[in-house]
Symmetry: D2
Subunit: 379 residues, 4 copies
C-alpha cells in the first residue's frame, strides 16, 4: 500500500500519516522527491485501508500496490515523476541528454568532453572517477582526484555532474562532489550500497543490471526509495543474451514497460548497450521514439586513446549528428529538449521546470508522450 | 566473393560470368532481385580475382565477402536493395507498413482486418493460413481455404498478400495465391524449406529465429538467395531472453547491424516481439527511428475473440494512433510512406518506385536514413 | 485427458475406447509404443470423465493431464516407458550408449567409427546422411548414398542405425534405411516434419531445440505421438545462453525435469552441447548421474579431418575412458548397460528387455534410478 | 606472468622475488594459500622473462598466463589447489559436502539444521546472517545475532562455518565469527567487497554471478587473490536463461571448464541453481560426476516454515538419500569424502589433509578425477 501526498503537503502532514499507521500496528516509509512525497506501508492491508488515511490532511491518494515495489509504483491517475538534478529536469515532457567521458582521465580530456557534451545539447555531464572494471589490472579510475576534476569542469561549464559510486563507504565522499549518484549495472543488487545512496539526499541514476528483470530493477529502486530518496531515474543499458554482434542487447521494450509499472523517469544508455560507436545515434533515436525521458552517451575528445570503452565513445565529428537526432526525435514525441528549459531558467523562467508540456507547444507532432502512456497496464 | 551486376546487365551477361568462373574451376550462383542481380562465387578466391571478371560486360563490381553469406552481403559503395512486392517497395527511402490478422479465420474477419490495415496506412496484407502452433491441439489454420480468403480480400481491397509457408511440399500451393512468402521464426533454419522458397520466384519475408544470431539469420537468407531469389526482406521479431514481462525481447540493435552487413531491407514485427498490445505503438516508432524499412503488425477486428495471439493484436480503436506514429516517425527519418508511392503509382507515377528519396522532400528532418548508414561497418 | 491401456490390451480394445469417446462428442488419438498404448482425449473433460472409460476392457488408467501434452505425460503410478529400437532398449533400468560420426563421409570412415562405437560399448550407431548446416556452402551430407553406407555398416557390425531426417518429403526414404529417425535441434518445431515422422512407424529421437523450453519440447513430442508413434526418446543437447566457453550450455536439470513430466526416456548429447572434445567424458558421466537413460556421442576415426564438428568428436584414443566412464556411472545408478542385455538377448534371454531392474542386481550402489524418481512432481 | 613458489619457500623468498621484479620496473602481487604461494607480475613480460626469476630460491615455476587472471591460472604440470577451511580440505582427491540453512533464523533451527548436515556427511556448516533479498520488505537476516548463533552451533557440533558478507564495511565483523567468507552471486562483481575479503585472511567461497561468464568469474577471483588471499573456492550456482522450469540453469560444464583454466577448487550449489527440492539429489550426483570438488546444499529442519528459499531446502527425510548419493558418487570418482579425513584427523591422522589420493584407495572405480583432468585445455 502507498500513500501519495499532495504537492502542498507539509512534513508535518507526512509525520501524522506515519503516526497513524504505526498506531494501527503497521510500518510506514516516507520517500521524498523534488516532485512529490509518497509513503509506503507494510502491515495488515485490510486494517490500514480502514483507518481513514485518505481523509488526512495532505493526502492525495491511497492506493493498493504490488507487495514488491510500492513507493516506486505507478498509481493510475497520478502523473509520472519529474526528477530535478541541480535544476535540470528529467521526466515526462522533456528530453534530457546526459553526456561525457566513460572515465575521467585528465582535466583537459574532461573539459574537452564536457564542451562536446554542451555542443551535443547535453545538460548533465557524466564521467567516472571510480570505475568498476572486470580485471583488477585495468585502469580503476582516478578516485577523489577524478571527483575534483569533475567539480572543476562543472565550475567551468555549468554542467551538473553524474558520477558512479561503488561502495557504501564512499557515498559521503562522492555525494560531496556529485549532483547525481550513479549505481552501475554490476551494483544494481548491492543492497547495502542502495540503502546508503537512499540516505544520501542526492538524486540517483540506477542502471539496470545486465541480467536483471524489470521487476528486480524496480525492486532495487524500492531499496533506495525506502531509505528516503524518491528522486530516482531508471537507466536501461542492455541485457545479456546469446547475440554477439553487440556487447549487450538493448531492451528497448523495457522503456514503456517500466514507465507503465513505475512513476520514475526512464533513460537509455545506447553506448554501453551496444558497445559500438556506429550504433549510438540510431539507438538514441529509437530510445526517444520508444518514450525514453532521456539519453546518456559516452563522448571522448579522442576515442581512440580512451582508457575505457573507447570503441563505443562518440568523438567530436559525431556530435552534430547526435544533437540533431536527439532533438528531432524529441520534437517527434512532443518533448522539449531540457536544454531549452535550463536555458530559459537562467533568465529567470523557472516556472516550467516540472517539465509539464504546455498545450499547443508541441505543434503538429503531438501524441508522442500522451499516446505512449495511453493503454499501458499500470499498478 | 561476389559479383554485382549493373542495372542494365542482361541474362546473357550473367551467363557469361558464370561460364568464365566455371572455366576457372569455380562455382557461381546467380541470384536475381527486382532491383539487381548478384553472382556469388566459390572456389579459389585468388585465382578468381585474376581472371578479369571486373572487365566483363554488365559487371558493376567484384567484391570480397565473408565466407559465410555472400549474395546478401553489403558491398561498400553499392546501395541497399529495394524489394518490390506486387508494386509495393520495401527498402531505403520508403516506409512500408504491413498489417493484418495473425490467422485467417473467416472471410468477414479477414476483410475487416484488411480495411483496418488500409486505414492504418498499410500497403501489404499479412495473414496466416498455415499456422505453426506450439500445441497440436491448437487451431492450425484454415489451409488452402484460408489462402482463397486472402486472395478474395486482395481482390476486394487491392492489398497484396504476405502469408507463411510451413513446408517445402506446400511452397507451390502457397505461391499460387501469395504475393510474398513468409518464413516463420521456427523455420528460419529449415533448410529444405529455404531452398524451396528460393526457387519459387516470389519475394520472401524471412523472420529471424527467436534464438538466432544476426549472422545465422543472414546465412539463412543466403540459402534462399543461393537458389535464385534475391528479393528477400529480413524481419526482426524478438529473441528469447530471461526477461518475462514481454514474450520475447525486441532486438532493436539488429536493425542497423543487419543493414550494415547486408544490402537486404529490414522490417520489424513489434506484435510478436512483445506479445502485448500496449507496446505495439511505441515499439513501431522505435523501429522506424532505428532505421527499419518497414513495420509489420497484427490487427484484428475483435482482438478479444481472436483464435491466435489475441493479446498482442491491435483493434480498430488503435488504428489512428498507429497510423500517426508510423507516419510521423517516417517523416523524422526522411522516408516516404510507401502508401504515397503506391497511391501515386495508380495514377501513373510509377517512376519513383525504387524508393529513392528526392532531394529536399524530407524537409528539415533530414539525416535519418543517411545518418543511419554513415559509419556502419560493412562487409 | 489420457487413457493408459494395459499391456495385454488389443487393438480392438483401443478402437472401442475411441468409439465411446466419439459417441460422447470428443476426439481420441491413439498412440502406440512397443511398451504401451495410450489414448489422448480432447473435448469436454467433465463429460468424458463420466462415461465409464475406466471400466472398459483393456483400460489400465484414466488420468487428467495438462491441456498441452497429454499422450507423453507422466501419470503417477504408471512406469516410465522403454523404447525398443530394433531390439535395443532405451529407458529406465538400462544405460544405452549411442555413438558414431557426426556425418557419414565414406564407407571406411563410417565402418571405423562404428567399430570405435562398439569398443566404447555403444549399441546403436549414429551418423548423418542429411546434414543441416548453417551455411549453404558447407558440406551438406551424402544424402541417400550416406543412408546406403549406414545400412552396409549395420550389416557388418550388427548396430542398428539412428539418422536424421530434414524434411517431410524425405521421411519415407530415410525410414527405408534407418532403425530410428532423428529430429534435429533446428527442426524441433518443424511441425509438418514432426507429423510425418509420427506416421512413419519408426522410433524417433527428438532433440531439444537449442532455444526451446522443456514444455515446448514435450509439446513437440506430443505432435509426434498424436500421429500414432509413442516410441519417442527425448534428447537434451544444450541450450543457448550468454556463456561462450562452450558452444551451448548443457541443461543437465532438464533430464530429471523432463522425466518428472513425461514417461518418455531422456538421453543426453554431450558432444553437441559443449562442442569440445575435452568435456565429453565428464559430461557423459554427469548425464548418467543425473538420471539420463542414455548418452549419444560423436566418434570419428580421425577427428582432425572430420568434415563436420571435428573439434567435438572423440577419437580412438578416447574410447577406453568413455567406455569406463559410462559403465561405472551406470553401475552407480543401478542400471545395466544395454550392451549386456542385447548380448544376452542374442543367446535367447530376451525376457529382460523391458529394462526392469532385477532385485539385487545393482549391488551396493542402489538408489540411483529409484531415488531419482522419488519426489519428482508429476503430471 | 606468474611465479609459482615451491612448498618450502619462505616469506623471505617471496619478498626477494618481489624486490627483483620491482627493480626491473614491474609490479608483483603475492597471493598466499594454505597450499601454495604464487606471485603475479605486471609489466614488460619480455623483460621480466629475462631477469632470472626461475633461478631464485623458492621458485618452482615461472609461467606465462593470460593477461586477465594470472594468480588463479592453472599452470600445466602444477597440481590444482587444496583450500583448507579450519582443517577441512576442499580440492582434488576429496569430496566436501557443505550444508545448512539458507538463513539463520533461531538457535534451535540452526542447531537442528547442523545436525542434519552432520547426518548427511557434511563437514562445513553454511548459513546466512546477512541475506541479500530482492525485496527490501523480505526478511534480511539476523545480522550479528545470526553470526553469534553460528558460532554457538560450531561450538556445539564442531562444524566450521561458511557465511556471506554483503559489504566491505562488514568484512571485519563477519571474519571475526566465520571460518570462510562467502561472496554471493549478486556481489560477484562488487569489486570493493572482493578486495576487502582478499585482505581479510580467511578462505573465500566465491559464487558465480548468475549472469557471469566463466572468464568474468575467474577475473573476480583474481581481484581477491591480488589482495593476498589465494584460498578461494569457486562455486557454480546456476545461470540465467530462458528456461523457466528451474529457477536458474545449472551450468554443469562450468565445472570442468573452470578446473581446466584455474587451479582453484570448484564446488556446486544444486539448491540455488534449480530452486526445487526434487532436483537437489540428482544434481548433486551430476556435480560430483562432472568432477566437482564439493557440493553445497540447503537443509532446513522444517522447510515448509523456512523464512528464505523454503521450496529448495531438503528436510530431515531427504538426508539419507543425499548422504548416499554424494558418497556413492565420490567413490565413483575415486575421491574420499572429506568427512573420513576430518574424522581421522581428530584421532591424530592429519597427514592426509592435503587431499591427495593414496594409490589404490579408490578401488575398482578409478579414473574419475584423473580422467577429468586429462586432456583439458590449460592456461
Amino acid at each position: 500500500m502507498m500513500v501519495v501526498m499532495s504537492g502542498d503537503a507539509t512534513h508535518q502532514d507526512a509525520h501524522q500519516v506515519v503516526a497513524l499507521v504505526r498506531s494501527a500496528g503497521g510500518e510506514a516509509f516516507v520517500s521524498r522527491g523534488g516532485n512529490r512525497t509518497v509513503i509506503g506501508l507494510t502491515g495488515d492491508a485490510e486494517l490500514l485501508g480502514s483507518i481513514g488515511l485518505h481523509r488526512m490532511r495532505g493526502v492525495e491518494r491511497v492506493a493498493r500496490t504490488s507487495d514488491g515495489y510500492r513507493l516506486v509504483s505507478r498509481v493510475p491517475g497520478v502523473e509520472r515523476s519529474v526528477v530535478d538534478v541541480a535544476g535540470v529536469p528529467i521526466g515526462p515532457g522533456t528530453m534530457t541528454l546526459i553526456a561525457g567521458p566513460c572515465a575521467v582521465e585528465t582535466p583537459e580530456q574532461t573539459l574537452q568532453a564536457a564542451r562536446l557534451a554542451l555542443a551535443a545539447g547535453a545538460v548533465l555531464l557524466r564521467g567516472g572517477a571510480f570505475k568498476p572494471r572486470t580485471s583488477p589490472y585495468s585502469f580503476q579510475g582516478l578516485g577523489e582526484r577524478g571527483l575534483r576534476i569533475l567539480a572543476d569542469v562543472r565550475e567551468e561549464t555549468g554542467l551538473p555532474v553524474v558520477t558512479e559510486v561503488l561502495s557504501a563507504g564512499d557515498v559521503e565522499l562522492v555525494a560531496g562532489y556529485a549532483d547525481m549518484l550513479q549505481i552501475g549495472t554490476r551494483n544494481m543488487q548491492n543492497f547495502p550500497l542502495l540503502q546508503a545512496v537512499g540516505e544520501a539526499g542526492r538524486p540517483v541514476l540506477l542502471k539496470r543490471g545486465m541480467n536483471a528483470t524489470v521487476e528486480e530493477w524496480l525492486m532495487a529502486a524500492e531499496y533506495i526509495a525506502q531509505r528516503g530518496t524518491l528522486d530516482i531515474v531508471l537507466c536501461e543499458r542492455g541485457i545479456r543474451t546469446f547475440e554477439t554482434s553487440t556487447r549487450n542487447t538493448l531492451d528497448i521494450s523495457a522503456v514503456p514497460v517500466a514507465q507503465g509499472l513505475s512513476h520514475l523517469p526512464v533513460v537509455v544508455d545506447p553506448s554501453h548497450s551496444a558497445g559500438r560507436r556506429d550504433l549510438v545515434v540510431p539507438l538514441s533515436r529509437a530510445a526517444v521514439a520508444a518514450g525514453a525521458d532521456g539519453v546518456i552517451v559516452d563522448l571522448h575528445p579522442r576515442p581512440e586513446t580512451s582508457l575505457c570503452d573507447g570503441p563505443q565513445a562518440l568523438g567530436g565529428q559525431d556530435v552534430p549528428e547526435l544533437a540533431r537526432a536527439v532533438e528531432d526525435a524529441a520534437r517527434l514525441m512532443g518533448r522539449r529538449p531540457a536544454r531549452d528549459l535550463t536555458g530559459r531558467r537562467e533568465s529567470g523562467e523557472s516556472g516550467d521546470l516540472t517539465g509539464r508540456r504546455e498545450s499547443g507547444e508541441s505543434g503538429e507532432l503531438t501524441g508522442g508522450e500522451a499516446s505512449e502512456d495511453r493503454g499501458l497496464v499500470t499498478v
